[in-house]
Subunit: 262 residues, 4 copies
């Protein structure tokens, strides 16, 4: 052991195999679903089945957001210039900054501040009002509220909230998120409804997910879509084309119902 010896809590390899937080990876394969192994890696423990289902749901909700997303445009631009697939994925990932996709962590912080004040005796309404006032005074935007695109309620939200209820979570963080929405309306004077980032933030708070890895979970999910778009660009488009960010359409299968009995 030299001067620069260091340690990790995450995983190690040996001649016998790969161990993730103490579990043999060979044993996890086929027995624990991928989102739960992500949860193990990020939190240190395997999730209970109800939590596992929520983590999977949040990842599915984040997998793609269509061709106009900045991260997709950046990835298509890179591969259109001749980058390999991984480099295009990296260009996409670099576009998931604080204004696009990396908002979950900030939103978790706001929601958890409300719950912390409420634990100290404030009502949720007062706690949310205090957090909104403090953040606004500090010049910080409260992420997770307000819609850029979906004028109606984003349909992913109702689905996620239903699943959270089914999973039997405490509901304290969901209530805090609602209190923040109300407090923002009072402070700003217009509707800033919970958006998908805020919903993810509330649910990940409910399941004890570490906030400093919440953006990582989002990135894992979203890079899936980014790479699909990059590969489509490479396979089907001429190189160096002008990639219009607005003027594009869809030529895939028409709307079809999911056969949930299957």
């Amino acid at each position: 052991m030299g001067d620069f010896y260091w340690k990790t809590n995450l995983s190690y390899t040996s001649e016998d195999g790969i161990y993730i937080r103490g579990y043999d990876l060979a044993e996890l394969i086929g027995n624990v679903p991928f989102p739960s192994v992500l949860y193990l890696l990020y939190t240190g423990e395997l999730p209970e089945p109800n939590i596992a289902k929520l983590i999977d749901a949040v990842m599915v909700a984040s997998i793609d957001h269509g061709s106009g997303a900045p991260s997709v445009l950046a990835a298509r631009t890179a591969i259109s210039g001749g980058a390999p697939l991984g480099a295009a994925g990296a260009a996409g990932l670099l576009s998931l900054g604080k204004f696009h996709g990396a908002a979950v962590q900030d939103s978790m912080e706001a929601i958890q501040s409300v719950v912390a004040l409420s634990d100290e005796g404030d009502t949720l309404t007062i706690a949310a009002g205090r957090v909104v006032a403090e953040w606004r005074q500090a010049g910080r935007r409260i992420s997770g509220f307000g819609h850029r695109q979906h004028k109606r309620k984003d349909p992913r939200l109702a689905r996620l909230f239903d699943l959270a209820q089914e999973a039997g979570v405490s509901g304290r963080y969901l209530a805090a998120a609602q209190a923040l929405e109300d407090a923002l309306k009072r402070a700003v004077g217009k509707d800033l409804p919970i958006n998908i980032d805020g919903a993810m933030a509330a649910i990940l708070s409910e399941v004890g997910f570490p906030s400093d890895l919440s953006n990582a979970l989002f990135m894992v999910a979203r890079i899936t879509g980014i790479l699909a778009h990059a590969q489509e660009e490479q396979a089907q488009m001429p190189p160096m084309r002008r990639i219009d960010p607005v003027d594009h359409g869809y030529s895939g299968p028409e709307h079809r119902k999911l056969d949930t009995k299957k």
Copy 2:
């Protein structure tokens, strides 16, 4: 529609929601597991349940390979210099080049060439011998064979092959991979056993996964581990430390059995 109008087959957003290959994302959430939605995005159709389980297994097998992996070292180096988490993930992704992690696609091509020759009448032994000879003549290494680290058989392999058998795949690509291993031994004169890339290549070929998205599947899985390591570096290590690539250890939970009854 302007001059630069273009179309995608993958997904679109509307005021009503997000549609992936025709399915409403809100409906997929909680009903279809994440690896199966990845499969939908990459292939155009949802997988049958037996295939879904294999895709999940291949992703779990790829999720992490310990702290010494080049992609992890690059990500730790970036975040140690002050990069945000996404930029560290990008640095890691950029290190998953043709020599590290992006070998599955090449391996699928070799395996599928053997099956194609066998379809034209060659025995598997002859077909594999021809592919090995042709690739070697063209100066191309056949990815997916030969171990860098695991001196014994990588324990992930037996697990994946068992699951493939349980899933009832045809076994033709698995047999072709075995034939390639034998042909390489005859050609090179030493054991180059199937490695994890080769096993993934055989299994993804069995389930009809598009070879030009096989590296993408690997990247989605592996970025999970890369981001965990990057976040650990950020949270627990001093900035700008010397990150020794060899001289490191593990301080996480000791080996523990998975409770598969749970």
Copy 3:
């Protein structure tokens, strides 16, 4: 010295300072211009004054290509999503692939092949014809010929060629590039005039610049412009705006003559 000891030919640091190819960096500062130190780092020796001037000229010629360049669009997209400046630069660099900016190396290879055949006795016309035929048969595009944008002769070319003549280079590679243009016209049946990549390739060949670092020289020059655009985006535009790749204009100073007497 451990098992992983390795060496570099480029540079080292000591308590006394930093040494580049044997020269004390403190001594280079203020005595040798930046493009010549780049040349030193990339070739091992300082350039003669006439060569130094050509290297500087080639770098100036590559510094920027306006807001519509894919690399600029990718960098603006990344920073628009909240990436820091360096990450935006990285996204831009990733977009400089084989179809956009990384063509100089391929073009040098073609030009140098013509000169090599001519050294063996072929006329330039025959040598260029053979290279065009061989590359076309191998399915390789000969980079450095054909204009995407400038319908008239790109005015940078005449300037670079004049400077090369002033510098007193042999002119053999410039002649080979011309012979390739002629051979391409005969083979393809249409004008594919030398473009800026081809001109850089010919000039860098004249000065003995290593072809496998020619793209690096281009990247150093072009990242300058990419970072300027990224910073402008960050400073002056709203986050997450739609960055139209075509529909944009210029609001800077009007055309002004350079005062070359100054």
Copy 4:
């Protein structure tokens, strides 16, 4: 002009050529050195000759810092895994975060705050003391002071300060940097001498360089070295080798004096 029409102040292309801040790029080539065209792009105007020389000097001072720099290790790691040269450069750039290379901007802010307070009547000593106290209270480290590596005075500094004096700058920002060094010693109780970041910050402040592009100037200079190391790794090392960050040496030319008469 559509809804997403936008403008840039930097540059544009037309059929006649490329214009940088109003100047025809073809006219700049061979007449204005590369660092001065960078200055034009970043500030809007060409530098006076004395300023031009300082900009060139600062870029030369930043071009490389040996094989052990984190950005070089990240780039070598990426290319060692099979990344193309540009992707390796991107991995290096991503490692130039706030703790490594991106410190000039912060340092400029501190130095300029001292000068601003001094303009309002404070002595430099009092002004520097106030800035140090305020930044420490806000938990901000004052970049540009304290050496990580060079135990003796970094020899680049004396050279840069001499050149600044020769250039006839006002010296106000250099004096403010010195006052900050003294104030830090009083506040922290140990020597934290100006380092290369602080020297660059003082000099770039003297020449009116925009602080939000100071890191960009550093990145342009340093990517030069990063790409040289990446290419050396690709050309001369086996793929996927363990790249020890400490245990390496130098095999290039021995120390040689610069022939400044040449």
